[in-house]
Symmetry: C2
Subunit: 240 residues, 2 copies
């Protein structure tokens, strides 16, 4: 815990403030590894214990990440991804001042298993399953598996590949609006493949968001699961 009973603006707080300003102003860039404790303590001319209090405070605030045995890093990107009725990845990131690119990694048609079931398809009806990756500033932040009813939305993979956007692809196929009914959120460690695709260690957990989307007629048009790299994305829910 970083809480103490010291007077306001104790020494560690002034150090935290200086580092915080360096980070928020971009003088310490996202992903930068900080010098080790001894060096930093020397730079600020304080005891290591004092320096450590400042670092803990900034880790608590999310500005720094302390990775056991690897060092302390300026937190990379923390994109605030709003879970709401009309959740759009691209719009969400634009709101955070970031531009996301989405690429189609692969696609297939499936007629059995969890995806057709989630889409409430009848036996034998196919789902188009798209495997996509979202990146910001060239850095992967999310992986999605999203399924669409093939009969209702033929050409979804091609439309996505052409536009790089689910919203644009659905619009091209005649779906002007769609809404999420419910999202569930869990977390786990990524598989080796997932970690590779996210360009991260398999020791860094991912947020797992599962959701269904309906069109204006209440039909399930999308069943999806997105993994977000937890160093890059946090979810927010307005209870408004």
């Amino acid at each position: 815990m970083t809480l103490d009973r010291a007077e306001p603006a104790a020494r560690w707080q002034r150090i935290a403030q200086a580092l915080r300003e360096d980070i928020t102003a971009g003088r310490l860039a996202p992903g930068t590894q900080l010098p080790n404790e001894t060096q930093l303590a020397a730079r600020f001319d304080v005891h290591r214990h004092t320096l450590r209090q400042a670092v803990r405070q900034l880790a608590h605030e999310g500005h720094l990440r302390v990775l056991q045995g690897r060092g302390t890093f300026v937190r990379e990107l923390v994109l605030d991804y709003a879970l709401q009725r009309r959740t759009r990845l691209t719009e969400n990131l634009a709101h955070a001042g970031e531009r996301a690119t989405r690429e189609l990694l692969s696609h297939e048609q499936v007629v059995t298993g969890p995806w057709p079931r989630a889409l409430q398809l009848r036996a034998g009806e196919a789902a188009a399953l798209l495997h996509t990756r979202a990146s910001v500033r060239g850095r992967p932040i999310g992986l999605s598996l999203s399924a669409y009813p093939q009969a209702l939305l033929p050409g979804m993979a091609e439309a996505f590949a052409a536009t790089g956007s689910v919203t644009a692809a659905l619009r091209a196929l005649g779906v002007q609006d769609y809404q999420r009914a419910r999202s569930t959120v869990s977390c786990r460690l990524p598989t080796a493949d997932e970690a590779d695709l996210l360009a991260r260690s398999h020791q860094e957990p991912v947020l797992v968001v599962q959701y269904l989307s309906h069109d204006g007629q209440g039909r399930v048009i999308e069943a999806a699961r997105t993994l977000f790299a937890s160093d890059a994305v946090q979810l927010s829910v307005e209870h408004g």
Copy 2:
């Protein structure tokens, strides 16, 4: 991926169905380790590859957890924790047919650092910080740090200790209703202390939910952070 193009009710699907029924009926209890692949394949009289497909399917559905190098386990408890305007831990779990107990691990008063700031206290005003643990069926599922304005709500720690409930403690102190404004959700690996308190491995990630609560007059009466064991709790958001 567990998706394939086989005929409906392929052999692996029948095995998955049999295991699913054993799990949902409680014949395979939460936390149980499954026999190894060779033994299970022999029991169902199928090739290991077929058995593996069934296990992957059940892992995908959340019924099983495959822990690298440790084996395959029946998922313990998956409590659905609804993030909403009036989020109450006890009510949420009662809805899932579970009774949660909450215990006070420690409490302190703090006048500096992130908690008084989150509560929007003036300089020098104290926050009461409660460290609590929630358990279901005797198994820890969550750890919370929650801060309350000391001047407005004197005796919060005692009221919580007496009732085991934030809602009941606030009511005893005159707060009849309170609401969450916004929640943010992230995930990370737990610290060694957190893992100990949750009785889990430090390799099992935790969901981190941070939130503020307001009373009827719009005053911030609670700033809190809850860690949920990710094998036990998933979050849900209704967008309706």
